[in-house]
């Protein structure tokens, strides 16, 4: 088996729940990402940032997981943003339409500024 290697960490910064996704985002990532989202939601997060790092491989199964998160975010009236994506995956996310529903930032600092501006 060639299981994918994804590490998921949760932290908080300036009122934003940050979920760090380090590694590959594929079908194997579903449980880790969903659990992280559920955990920050249980703690009352309104603003959530999926912070991608060193993601060499995000496939359509991984994108499907993210679409599921967007669905939940909309249902729960939360705000979701993404940062740290490579230029290629930013293009892919625009291609599939995810960028219409999620603010995509170059990096974490820019995303935090975006959340702060939206909250002001």
């Amino acid at each position: 088996m060639l299981d994918d290697d994804l590490d998921v960490y949760i932290r908080e910064r300036e009122g934003v729940a940050i979920i760090d996704l380090i590694g590959d985002v594929t079908t194997f990532a579903e449980e880790k990402i969903t659990n992280a989202y559920n955990e920050v939601s249980r703690k009352g997060a309104r603003n959530i940032l999926l912070n991608f790092r060193q993601n060499d491989y995000i496939n359509s199964a991984g994108i499907a997981i993210l679409i599921g998160i967007v669905t939940e975010v909309n249902r729960n009236n939360q705000r979701l943003a993404m940062s740290g994506l490579s230029q290629h995956f930013q293009k892919i996310f625009r291609m599939v339409g995810l960028a219409q529903y999620v603010d995509i930032y170059q990096d974490e600092d820019e995303a935090i500024q975006g959340f702060t501006a939206a909250m002001a």
Partner: protein, 147 residues
Amino acid sequence: MYDPSISSSIDLSIPSELGYERVVREAVASFAHRLGFATERVEDLKTAVSEACLNAIEHGNAQTPGLRVDVTCVWDGSGLTVCVQDQGLKPYSGHVTPGIEQRLRGDAPPRGLGLYLITQLVDACGFEPSPGGGNVLYMCMRRCPRA
């Protein structure tokens, strides 16, 4: 000295097991780099090839142990054609599923974006008949980006 103006090819065969698409992805990327493809084109090709292999593993071969996915990459001097063949346990309709709006509304399953991505990332693609049965998806990419 390697001369990319002459034709050349590579053949790969992988098990129908999730994760092996990454092996093909890296091999095809390495081949394309060697042929002088720009980095952005290689990234597009990597994603397209991964998705084609994923479809073959999950759909065409239904992740059946013992069934193989065969990949051929042929360079003709100006472009690369990658063919991904499965055993055709489930035939493809070639239908590209709808966009994200339907998925967010729950009117379409979240999966199934692979074929759509492939159509967007390569210069030409489609299914071709296979004498021995099975699905054969071909993808063509020229070395120079589209204008």
